[in-house]
C-alpha cells in the first residue's frame, strides 16, 4: 500500500526544508453526509518528524486543519542523505509512518 505521507526534504547548506502532504479525511464531526447523518470526527492528532534520533518538529492538530493536510518547516543540524522519520496518529487509533532521505 502506498504511504499516506508524501515528504520532500531538501538540504540547503545547514538548513533542511521539509514539506509534507498527508492523505487524511480530517473529518470534523460537525458535517452531515447526504443522508443527513453526522460523519464522525476522524482527524490526525499528532504528527512527528524525527531526524538522527531527535524530534525536530511535532504538530498537534485539531479538526480545523484542512483535509489532506500540508505542513512546511525547516530545521538545522542535518545533512544530505540523513534520514527523516515521519509518523502520525489519529483520534481513531490509526497511524502511519514513513522515512525520507534528505536530498
Amino acid at each position: 500500500m502506498a504511504s499516506s505521507i508524501r515528504v520532500r526534504a531538501t538540504s540547503n547548506g545547514d538548513i533542511t526544508e521539509v514539506q509534507a502532504l498527508i492523505q487524511h479525511p480530517m473529518d470534523t464531526g460537525l458535517v452531515k453526509d447526504s443522508k443527513g447523518e453526522v460523519i464522525p470526527a476522524h482527524f490526525i492528532q499528532q504528527l512527528k518528524f524525527e531526524c538522527n534520533g531527535k524530534d525536530v518538529f511535532v504538530a498537534d492538530w485539531g479538526t480545523a486543519v484542512s483535509k489532506d493536510p500540508y505542513v512546511k518547516f525547516s530545521f538545522k543540524g542535518a545533512k544530505k542523505g540523513d534520514e527523516l522519520k515521519i509518523s502520525w496518529t489519529d483520534n481513531k487509533g490509526g497511524s502511519d509512518t514513513t522515512t525520507a532521505k534528505i536530498a
Binding site: L30, V56, W61, G62, A64, V65, Y70, F73, F75, G77
Partner: protein, 163 residues
C-alpha cells in the same frame, strides 16, 4: 420457590455495588487527568482543542495570556475563496521559540493547530486551515517562556464546514 427468590436480592446487591464502583471510577477520571497538562507537556493537548472560545483555548494550552508583537509575521490571505483550505503561515524573528499555535476565532473550536519547535528548528511554519466564516486568525508564538501574537482578519466567501 425459596431457592429462586433467595439468590435474587444478593445478586442485585452485588450488581448495584459494582455499578456504583464503576460510576465512582468514571467520576474521578477528569479530576486526575486535569493537572497532568502543562504547556511544555509532550502529550496531545486534548482539553485545549475542546475549547470553543479563543481565550479559553489559549488558557488551556498555555495558562497565560499573549501580547501582540510586530516580531510575529502572520501571512494569511485577505480573502479566502474556499474556507476549507486557507493557507496560513507564520515566521518570527523572536529568539528561543518553543512553540507556535494557530487559532481561528469563530470556528466551532478555536484552536486549530499547535506546533512544538525544538532547539535547532526554525520558528517558521506553513499549513492549511479550515475556516467556518470571516473571522480573525491568530498566530501565537511562545518564546523564552512568554507569549506573543499576531492577528489578521480573513474574509471567507465559502465556509469550511461543508454543506
Amino acid at each position: 420457590m425459596t431457592t429462586t427468590t433467595g439468590p435474587h436480592p444478593t445478586r442485585r446487591l452485588i450488581l448495584q455495588g459494582a455499578a456504583s464502583v464503576a460510576l465512582l471510577g468514571l467520576g474521578n477520571l477528569p479530576f486526575t487527568a486535569a493537572p497532568a497538562r502543562a504547556a511544555a507537556n509532550d502529550k496531545y493537548p486534548d482539553e485545549a482543542f475542546k475549547q470553543k472560545n479563543e481565550a479559553d483555548a489559549i488558557k488551556a494550552l498555555y495558562g497565560k495570556t499573549a501580547e501582540p508583537s510586530d516580531k510575529v509575521k502572520l501571512d494569511a490571505p485577505e480573502i479566502a475563496e474556499n474556507g476549507g483550505v486557507v493557507p496560513i503561515s507564520v515566521t518570527t524573528t523572536l529568539d528561543k521559540v518553543t512553540s507556535i499555535s494557530f487559532f481561528v476565532a469563530e470556528n466551532p473550536f478555536a484552536l486549530a493547530a499547535s506546533y512544538r519547535i525544538p532547539d535547532g528548528t526554525l520558528p517558521s511554519v506553513a499549513n492549511r486551515l479550515k475556516m467556518a466564516k470571516t473571522t480573525n486568525v491568530t498566530a501565537l508564538v511562545e518564546a523564552d517562556g512568554k507569549l506573543y501574537s499576531a492577528t489578521k482578519e480573513v474574509k471567507v466567501t465559502v465556509g469550511g464546514c461543508g454543506g
